[in-house]
Symmetry: C2
Subunit: 477 residues, 2 copies
């Protein structure tokens, strides 16, 4: 089946409802649609057309959304670039995705070296030309591509189809409900599935989005107090900062506010309990780029009873544990459902992401006797730092590229502020200043991925087949 | 893709939430699931198995639902028999559908002559055997088959798949919202799509159903007053009767109550306005058995401005008018979306129901310049008089606008001069000279559309869901 174009449909069905609000400005779905069509005409002037692969690099502001929605109207595949990445990392993604166009926020233009760059300013000043609007979207059409790292250290471009995003939106609605009054506060990056999925829900539900250009605990607390928003997405560290502000101000939260979706790793139950004293319901979720946002969610009512659990699968989804014979047995987490990506692009396009429709996550977990999922270990020792995923292998690869480094091992170490930060251990071929090594990393890695410590050691812990045992590294922290 | 079995999923995700309430009894989703599994074991004892075509004839009560849900667990195709049909009509449907089993409420056993009858009593007293529960449902799996009459007069068995029911539920939710507190009052027959779709929504949303065994305006008004329900489905005549009861009792409606879905033909705007004085929001809908319930819906905010309209398509659906070059031009209504049946069974299985994914409804209508659908008439009721098309609904609407008229039905009757002329039948609120009524019509209708006769009757012929049967009116001419 095909979907009617979501934005056209919302402009038709919920034309005067608020689609986006930013600072003091607001756009209805009707205005959003006509603005997106205008931008689509401008993009068409540069030759952007149906099925064009278009990379976008932008900070969070309304024009980023206008341009994304314009791409939806035209029928492009959007490669969502992470503004925190280094030039080297971005260049890799552009090359791997073979993006024909790179639409760049002027503020970030220094990050990209490509003959295909079109700045937002030049888009804005282009004269629109005729374009063929996509009235219908095929279910399997790729809407977005997001890069995620894996065990190999080479980031993989994950295809997210219209059906992936639709079923994710629907499944969330079947879990937490929907109402015409809902407004979702978006402080998550729009290029990340946590932020992007808010836009998809907006189009599917006809729901308003309140956009902040970045996370600011004071500003968030203000929205909650005023009751201008009903939902928001958080990670542990942002939730805690908001709670601190509410505490400081002895503030109360408007009864309009309904739910927080919390992703990016387990949330301490103390945060959830503190949130409850403000009447805030926090739902912990487990998901990944390959599942277009949440796959399981823990209801607040179960939070204290099921500490550390990520909850149960949403209505359309199934979770099983590879090889587990009975509840409590850990194994690889397998996921099935219409939210699961059909696969990767570029050099990983041959990589099997599903078997019999089951996504092999690489994460380790178990289901308890009531069917609650507990994630024991994220794949390949994933480090979750302030909600961002960091893969040790990616950092190790960079370290190993330096001639002075013979072996490298990276693991997470606890951080009060970020939950976890990366720590590196290296075996050297020759003497080198660790600052020099760090500067070498800085050229190739986003700053949040930089090791917060680098220590020289004689050897690294390895198993019999010489595989690095990152979990043992942690004992050295 | 496959759906996880909806009832299993709800028993897992919303186990303690109310699934069904009837008189003083209640069943949670967990209880409903175990009861359905018990009944499935009993059905299996008779040889009912996956893909069995099972006809069911029952009055509205919980056991009917247990048995339907048992059939879902086993994976049967349910032929939903209408208890108001004659023995001859039922025999036709059993023969056409080649039903292997006929499950019959003991109260209705005289209606069926078939060697395949299994009474509810014998099911109840059977000893359950092992059966294989369907953990997953294919999207294209036939869940229900409902017979509908057409222009031919030969009822056709319409297949309704899991995807049809799912998308119908989802589309309704995207229109009116969903919340964990919702309870839908079901007074529509469960064998009809209007009632059956309430059960499907219940399973998809995890929503409670409050079941009445039949429509009783007093009982409905009581539920609205007490606030025990949040939604209900009505047709024009049942809505009016409920309003009359509320008026009589000078009653108020609980703020818990949210929305009425009104189907089965246009609702007089006066009813909608009366409902609004009670805070009841009435949404007129247009749908049919072939679309598994509503395809378009009119919001109350538009009701006065768009009198007679059936609203706009729901989010996943598209409507177009065959041959129309511009807004306002009437033609056959074509419908596209995942709610459209893949086709008929039995002797009509070869009949093409879709072309390029578009359902040709046979109904006549137009879209206005804002995209609102106006159903001018169901094609089979069209009166052709001296070459002019006359749509009974138009005349009925005028008659209903007169305060003395409670119900009105119009059909064609043979005329030597004109081929056909309109004849009207009215149920009155109070005595009135028919000449006065005719004069009232004359003010609002072209003369060729004036009923050539108006007769007062006690009641009008209606089907189980209270929809006016204009074809039966013709027998009165």
């Amino acid at each position: 089946m095909n979907y009617p174009n979501w934005l056209l449909q919302r402009a038709h069905l919920s034309s005067s409802r608020m689609a986006l609000s930013y600072e003091e400005q607001e756009w209805s779905f009707s205005e959003m649609n006509s603005t997106a069509q205008k931008y689509a005409g401008k993009l068409a002037a540069f030759g952007v057309e149906r099925d064009s692969r278009v990379a976008i690099l932008s900070k969070s502001h309304p024009e980023f959304i206008f341009i994304m929605y314009a791409c939806l109207h035209i029928g492009c595949e959007m490669v969502m670039l992470n503004e925190r990445l280094s030039k080297v990392e971005l260049a890799y993604q552009l090359e791997d995705s073979k993006s024909r166009f790179v639409l760049v926020d002027d503020k970030l233009v220094e990050k990209i070296e490509s003959p295909h760059v079109i700045t937002f300013t030049s888009i804005r000043s282009a004269k629109p030309v005729e374009f063929e609007i996509q009235e219908e979207w095929e279910q399997g059409r790729t809407i977005s591509i997001m890069y995620t790292s894996g065990t190999t250290g080479n980031p993989k471009g994950v295809r997210q189809t219209a059906e992936n995003h639709f079923s994710s939106s629907i499944s969330s609605a079947l879990n937490i409900g929907i109402s015409a009054e809902d407004v979702w506060l978006c402080v998550m990056p729009l290029f990340h599935i946590s932020g992007f999925s808010i836009l998809m829900r907006s189009l599917v539900y006809g729901m308003g989005v309140r956009l902040h250009d970045k996370f600011d605990a004071q500003q968030c607390a203000k929205e909650l107090q005023k009751g201008t928003v009903t939902h928001m997405s958080v990670v542990g560290v942002t939730l805690e900062r908001i709670l601190n502000v509410l505490d400081e101000h002895k503030a109360s939260v408007s009864p309009n506010f309904k739910t927080m979706l919390a992703g990016g790793g387990p949330i301490p139950v103390a945060y959830i309990q503190r949130a409850e004293t403000y009447g805030i319901s926090v739902l912990q979720t487990y998901g990944m780029t390959e599942t277009s946002s949440q796959t399981t969610t823990l209801q607040p009512a179960d939070a204290a009873r099921k500490i550390g659990s990520s909850g149960k699968p949403l209505f359309l989804y199934q979770v099983k544990i590879e090889g587990a014979q009975k509840p409590g047995e850990a194994g690889e987490i397998h996921i099935r459902g219409p939210q699961v990506t059909p696969g990767y692009i570029g050099r990983h396009s041959g990589l099997l992401v599903q078997e019999d429709g089951w996504l092999h996550t690489g994460d380790i977990g178990y289901l308890d006797d009531e069917g609650f999922l507990f994630v024991v270990d994220r794949r390949s020792d994933l480090i979750v730092s302030g909600g961002e995923n960091i893969y040790p292998a990616e950092i190790e690869k960079v370290l190993l590229n330096h001639p002075a480094v013979r072996e490298a091992g990276v693991c997470g170490k606890p951080s009060e502020q970020w939950g976890e930060v990366p720590a590196a251990y290296v075996v050297l071929n020759e003497e080198i200043e660790l600052d020099v090594l760090l500067a070498f990393c800085r050229e190739q890695l986003a700053s949040y991925k930089l090791p917060k410590s680098i220590k020289t050691v004689e050897s690294l812990p390895r198993n019999a087949s010489n595989k690095l045992l990152r979990r043992e590294l942690k004992a050295w922290n």
